[in-house]
Symmetry: C2
């Protein structure tokens, strides 16, 4: 039935890997660390991208496209950025191949095509974009500049996992320029809220909004905001980040504007991004041992209709009725698919769409035609029942809504059950072993943070926005603390 | 007014370059050969992409994503392909940078990070995709496989021109797999017709559909179909290609399927693509010495409304009325923009939107409010007049339609005027110097084709589909010929 998925209990990591490949979302390619995003996985990503793109445009952003390559010297300009990014990356050193004279049919790199300056395949685009913005910004009238890019990026990874960590991945990166610090911070926070809205209301995944500690900040940022989600195995996953970059990149790339008084000032910057990593979060938040469970708002197919027949005549009669049902559903904007293939049996199809996480399945046979009913199965609860064809579209619309909310509610309940408030080192370790978010006091030093990480593999996921202030003692050092922060083991 | 555009007559190439940069479509980046596609240019590309994507999906295709990198050995596998593509390309040889011990603050390539096998930044994806398809295709039930990819590709170019020839460009590439030769050829032709439909009915650019001669074929193809457009300067531009690849890639990558009889056969393939080069074709087809002229179906803004006022009170009254007009237009799906900025004067705005090619401009002042009218200006004809606000949305909808058709008709008339039928070498050269498509007899040999190219810089753009068969003599050799082919100097 479930196409031999490993169960979550047996081996969560293997379950994830099985699911991603068997549900046709993605697979490892023969290029080290790079994945192939298969059509079904890409269709989900397209839905995510389209929703996010609308949200970005609704908040005043426009798209543009910047070069794939970053000259090495550009990466050197912003010190913190260089330290963080210019390490594990793909380096282009030559621009020509030629026939290998010693090996007929083989190619070799032409040594005469060596580049004067190496090009780095972008690991992120701050450097190339701020080098460009220098030419675009002269006056306060040119600000704010609110630009987003959908692109591929490359970070050389030694250990990869489909969607969660790959050498090449797809993402969007917003890069904005502002005339004041306050406006840039407002933008940074606005985009964090846009991400949270998307992840909660479309992906059905509750998140904590917060800021990173200094040691977890984006390289080159003054402040990194993040949203943190909790997976079913109790590990955290950073689902999106929004960075206040201060004037660091403006200074590194000499981007100044004349203010209203005609005086030159450095520009204030933000950047923010989410990636195909969200696909991993989506899979791990809702799916079960039978396969994917997709939230209706992102499911490529929201309703699949499977005919159950013995004769061609039955098949034709069913198809005729289904055409009407399809039309009614499509008119309401519901994404419906009629799988009328005669190469596969209904049972095979049921298992297939269960594996692929289609939210609702309609089964319809000759008896259903007579009784003017259908069989309707919910993927999230695995329940099914018979419902009338009268008012079916209404019913389905309501159910899709209910499933969307149910998935969020379930994920939220799991998160609540896995949120632990602890006060001692022993409680802290016990809570980490149970898995989940652990709210604990920390003395605020990078040194303690590092020690906790070494001892437990747990990191501070964030300091929540509007965090309640509360006197306490650091779980490791016992030193004074003013607030609890969120620890977890993380992806 | 026209922001100092060079005129077409004075220097067509400079006019193009001026236009692309001044209308904010794109600019050269500091990375050799790579462009930055600016927001306005990208918005046009997004419209193109969205229309094409819908057309691909309507013909049964789905999107997917394959790795950016192609291992060198993959490129070697299909001999013709290697010969054509594995030459001028970006080669990744290392995967790490490190701090340069001799130059504090500088980075250097870590010599210890040399890759065992070099990776090529994809110049096209046949190799990587067919290597993947081997795992996806076992039986005739897995066919056809109809996949498209939207991606960036890199071909190292020595001389670049914005959109027309850049080292990195954006494109889509379809890669399909079929069980029979006939079906693959049908697919190749179907996609050629989709491209022609798009270029003619959305871009407003008439094309000749045809096939390439053997020497102009895609590297690895058995047959290359193309659409050829004519620019205002009389040069041809290849606007899209669709390739029948035979079993070449299936054999190179060992992709076989079990047919209905259980016998193994090699798969038949096609590939087809259009790129950001289409942006160049769009610009050069319709624009004039005042700036861009965009066809309404692809224009990011179809109607711009510019208020003309002296006092704040007038401005407020106009804005109130415009809000209603905007709403009426938006309800019909018309992309409308109200430029109510008080930082720029109406005259400046008029010139700006003329430069940006917005199809229709509405001017509205206090007198227009009183008379219940607006001033309406057409970008294509540069005519303007006063029209009533009653029925305005209807009128505009009709006008946008008319502009769309007028642009095509104008381009077609120019092409007709620039299509020459010649019978002698002298006539041939005279026609080429006038510019345009030259229909002439050719003896069918690659040798003659090459000689003509060397002597005149003209290439055979294509042999038109359903080409009339007509006995004649080759313009160069005088040898027998059965049909005229289309020559031109080309981009």
């Amino acid at each position: 039935m479930a196409k031999d998925l490993t169960t979550r209990e047996k081996d969560y990591a293997q379950w994830y890997q099985d699911l991603v490949t068997k549900a046709d979302l993605a697979e490892h390619s023969d290029v080290r660390g790079c994945m192939v995003i298969k059509p079904y996985g890409y269709a989900i990503w397209e839905n995510m991208r389209d929703v996010l793109d609308r949200m970005f445009k609704a908040t005043g952003h426009v798209n543009a496209y910047f070069p794939l390559f970053v000259p090495k010297s550009f990466l050197e300009k912003e010190e913190g950025h260089a330290e963080g990014f210019a390490k594990e990356c793909a380096v282009v050193t030559h621009y020509r191949l030629k026939n290998d004279p010693d090996n007929p049919g083989k190619l070799m790199v032409d040594p005469e095509s060596k580049l004067e300056e190496e090009l780095i395949v972008r690991p992120t685009s701050e450097a190339i974009i701020w080098n460009t913005y220098r030419g675009w910004i002269q006056s306060y009238r040119d600000l704010p500049l609110l630009i987003n890019q959908w692109a591929n990026v490359v970070r050389w990874e030694m250990r990869t996992r489909l969607f969660l960590r790959t050498t090449e991945f797809l993402w969007q990166e917003g890069h904005t320029a502002h005339s004041t610090k306050a406006e840039a911070i407002e933008e940074t926070e606005r985009m964090l809220h846009v991400y949270a809205d998307f992840v909660e209301n479309y992906m059905g995944v509750p998140v904590i909004k917060g800021i990173k500690t200094a040691s977890e900040r984006f390289a080159g940022a003054e402040e990194t905001y993040c949203i943190e989600a909790l997976m079913q195995d109790g590990k955290a996953l950073q689902a999106g980040t929004s960075h206040f970059l201060g004037q660091n990149f403006a200074k590194a790339f000499d981007v100044q504007f004349a203010n209203k008084e005609g005086k030159l000032e450095y520009v204030w910057a933000t950047s923010w991004g989410v990636s195909t990593r969200l696909m991993g979060a989506l899979v791990m938040s809702h799916s079960d041992d039978n396969g994917l469970v997709l939230p209706p708002r992102l499911a490529p197919t929201q309703v699949v209709i499977v005919p159950i027949y013995r004769t061609d005549e039955e098949r034709a009669r069913i198809a005729e009725r289904v055409a009407e049902i399809e039309k009614e559903l499509a008119m309401r904007g519901i994404r419906v698919k009629f799988d009328n293939r005669d190469t596969h049996r209904p049972g095979w199809k049921f298992a297939e769409y269960e594996l692929r996480g289609v939210p609702l399945r309609i089964g319809i046979g000759p008896k259903d035609l007579e009784a003017n009913q259908v069989e309707l199965a919910r993927r999230d609860t695995l329940t099914k029942g018979t419902v009338s064809q009268i008012g079916l579209a209404d019913h389905i619309e309501k159910l899709l809504h209910e499933i969307q909310h149910n998935l969020f509610a379930q994920a939220e309940a799991r998160r609540t059950a896995s949120s632990h408030y602890v006060n001692t080192w022993d409680e802290f370790n016990a809570a980490l072993d149970k898995g989940g978010f652990v709210y604990a006091h920390w003395d605020g030093t990078a040194e303690t943070e590092q020690k906790i990480k070494e001892k437990t593999k747990a990191t501070i996921r964030c300091i929540p926005l509007n965090n309640p202030q509360e006197a306490g003692q650091c779980i490791l050092t016992g030193n004074a603390s003013v607030q609890r922060v969120v620890f977890a083991r993380a992806y």
